[in-house]
C-alpha cells in the first residue's frame, strides 16, 4: 500500500518535472527573425547635454546613467523627469523597463508614468530634441507593461538600442521598420557602450 503510494508520487513528480522542462524548452525557442540592425550609428545624431530618464522606473535606467557618466557624456539623470527638466538639454534618453516595485517606491501608478512620458516626449519633439530609447532588460523584461511603454516611446524615437534576446519575436525589428528609426541589438550589456557612444561622438 505504502509502496504503491510512493510509486505514484515518484511518477507524479517525474511527470511534473518533465512537463516543466518541455514548457521551458518551448519557451526558450527563439523564432528565426530577419533583423534589420546596425552595430552602431555611422555618425553622431544627438548633442549633449542629455536628459536621462526611466520609462517604468526599473533599475535599468541607473545602469545607463552610470554608463553615461563613465563615457563622460554630459547628462542629467532624473528617473521621474518632467517636461520642465528639458530646459537646457539637447537630447532625451529613455530607458524602458517596467518595475512595479520601482513605481510603488516612487509612489506613482502605471497611468501616471504614461502621462509623464507623454508630456515629456511631446515637449522633446516640440524642442526638436533627439529621442534615444534603450531596452536593456532582455527577454525577461518583455511583458505587456514594458511593451506598452516601449510602443509609446518608440513613436518619437530617433534610435533604439536593445538586447538581442528581447527581440525573440522580431517585435523590435517590426517597430524599427514601422516608425523608421535605426535599431541596434547587442548580445549583452558589455557591448552597449559602443552604440551608446556613437550617438554623441
Amino acid at each position: 500500500m505504502g509502496g504503491t503510494a510512493l510509486r505514484w508520487q515518484k511518477k507524479l513528480i517525474f511527470k511534473f518535472i518533465l512537463v516543466l522542462f518541455l514548457l521551458i524548452s518551448i519557451g526558450c525557442q527563439t523564432s528565426d527573425n530577419h533583423e534589420w540592425t546596425l552595430p552602431n550609428l555611422p555618425r553622431p545624431i544627438a548633442k549633449e547635454k542629455a536628459l536621462i530618464t526611466s520609462a517604468g522606473q526599473s533599475t535599468d535606467a541607473y545602469i545607463i546613467a552610470e554608463m553615461a557618466n563613465q563615457l563622460l557624456i554630459n547628462n542629467t539623470f532624473l528617473p521621474r523627469a518632467k517636461e520642465t527638466d528639458l530646459v537646457n538639454k539637447s537630447s532625451l534618453v529613455v530607458i524602458v523597463g517596467y518595475s512595479p516595485t520601482g513605481l510603488k517606491a516612487a509612489n506613482i501608478t502605471f497611468q501616471n508614468e504614461k502621462e509623464r512620458l507623454t508630456h515629456l516626449l511631446d515637449r522633446a519633439v516640440e524642442q526638436k530634441m533627439k529621442v534615444i530609447v534603450l531596452h536593456i532588460g532582455g527577454k525577461q523584461r518583455r511583458n505587456k507593461w514594458s511593451d506598452a511603454l516601449l510602443e509609446m516611446v518608440v513613436r518619437r524615437a530617433d534610435y533604439l538600442i536593445g538586447v538581442r534576446s528581447a527581440n525573440y519575436d522580431g517585435w523590435f525589428t517590426k517597430l524599427s521598420l514601422q516608425y523608421n528609426f535605426p535599431l541596434t541589438l547587442v548580445q549583452d550589456l558589455g557591448e552597449l557602450k559602443v552604440p551608446f557612444t556613437s550617438i554623441y561622438r
Binding site: A5, W8, Q9, L12, I13, F16, L20, F21, L23, I24, G27, C28, S58, T59, D60, Y62, I63, E66, M67, S99, P100, T101, G102, K104, A105, I136, G137, G138, Q140, R141, N143, D188, L189, G190
Partner: protein
Amino acid sequence: MLLFKLRKRQLIIVGILQFCLGFYLVFLLQENWFNVLNKIRLAIKAGDSGQLILAAGATSMLSTIQILPFFLGTVQILIGMPLQPVKWSKIRFCITLMVILLCSWLLAHIYGWRWEFVSSILSAIICLYLLEKIPPGRYNFWQVSFIFIQIIFAFQWLNTVPFLEPFLFGRSDIPLSIKIAGRYLKASSVLNFVGLAFCIPFLISGLATTGVIISSAQAIKAMEESREKERQLRNIQVKALENRVHQELHSLVHDLKTPLVTIQGLNSLLTMLNDPAKITEYSTRIERSVAQMTEMISEILYDSVRKETSVVELLDYVRAQLPLEDQSIFIDIHMSEGLPCLYINKIRVARAIINLMENAILAVSGKQRGNILFSVDPYVGGILVTVSDNGEGISESALEQIWEVGYTTRKTSGLGLPFVKQVIESHGGWVKISSCLGQGTTVRLFLPGINACNVQDQAE
C-alpha cells in the same frame, strides 16, 4: 473524538489566521522591498557587487517570509497537520499543491510581479513530499515550519542565479533587476556561485532536518513500544503469579482436609461411645487436630510464622503431597542421621521442596527409567537437601535466567524456582542449581538448623 474535532477546528482557525498574516505581510514588507531596490541602485552606482549579493540575500529572505504563511496555512487547513497522518492520495496531493500555487500566484498578482512558478512548484512539491515522510503525531508546527523555511529559502536563492534564467527561474521584478545589474557589473558568475552556495546547503539541511525528525520519531516510537511490551509482560507475570497463588492455595486447602477428616471421623465415633475414657481421648485428638489446623492456617496466611520442625516431620509432609503416578520414575530418598531441627514455616518450605521435586519429576517424565535422588544431609549447622535427576538437563544460557520471574523452558508459569529461592532465602538459606545438558540436573538447598537460627536471631 470531541477533542480531536476541537483541535481540528483550532487548526483551521490558525490556518486562516496564517493566510491573513500572509496578506498583511504584503503591506508590512513593502518598505523592505524598497530597501532592496535601493541596494541594487547603490550596487550599480558604486559598482559594488557585494551590495548586489546582499540584495539577493534579502530578496530570498523576504520572499520566504512572504510565502511561508500560505504554505503552512494550506497544510493546516487541508491536512489538519500535525493532528493526523499525512497520507497523500493523488487528489489530495494535487489539491494541496494547487492551493499553495494559487496562493503564490495571487501573491505575485498583488505585487504586480511575474509569478515565479518554477521555484514555487519545486519548493511546494518537495515540502509536501517531506511532510508525508514524517510519522504522524511525532512532529509539531515549529519543526514543520523549520523544514519549510529551509526548502523555500533554498529555492528562492535560485531565482537570483543568472544561468538558470532560461529555465524560467527569477522572472519577477526584483530578482530580474538583480540579474540585469549583475550582468552590467560583470558579477553574473558571482551571483551564480552565491545562489548555488546558499541553495544547496539549505536544501541538504532541510532534508537532514527531516531525517533527524524521522529518526528521533522512530526512536521514540520504539521506546514506547518497548515500554508497552514491558507493561504487558508485567501484567502477564502478575496474572501468572495470581495463578500460582491460586495453585498453592489449592494445595494448602487440600492439606487442611487431613485434620478435618480426622475431626469428622472422631466426632462421628463420639456419638456412639459411652466410655468416658475413650471420649476424653477422642476429644483430645480432636483438639490436637483443630490446633494443627490453626497452625497450618497461620502458616499459610503469614510468611513470618515459624515453628520448630524436625526434618522427618517436614519430609513426611512433602512425601504426602508428591504426585507419584508414573511407574517409570524411581525416587530414591536418603536421609542422614543426626539432622538438626529446623525453625521454619513448614507449609511454605514443604511447598518449595515439592516444587523442586515436581521439576525433577517433569524432567525425567517420558524417559524409560527416570531416577531421582532425594537426600538430606547435615551441613554447617543446618541441612543440605539435594535433588538430582537424570533428565535432559539445562543449557548454560538457560541456567543464567532460571531464577528470573516468568522464565520457563516447559510452558509453565516460570514462577516455581523464584518462589523456591524467595522462601529458602527468607529462612536464611540458599539454593543452587548445577546442570549438564543431556545428563541431568542437581539442585542443592541449604536451610539453617535451629541453633544456627538462634545465633542469627541473637546477632540481629
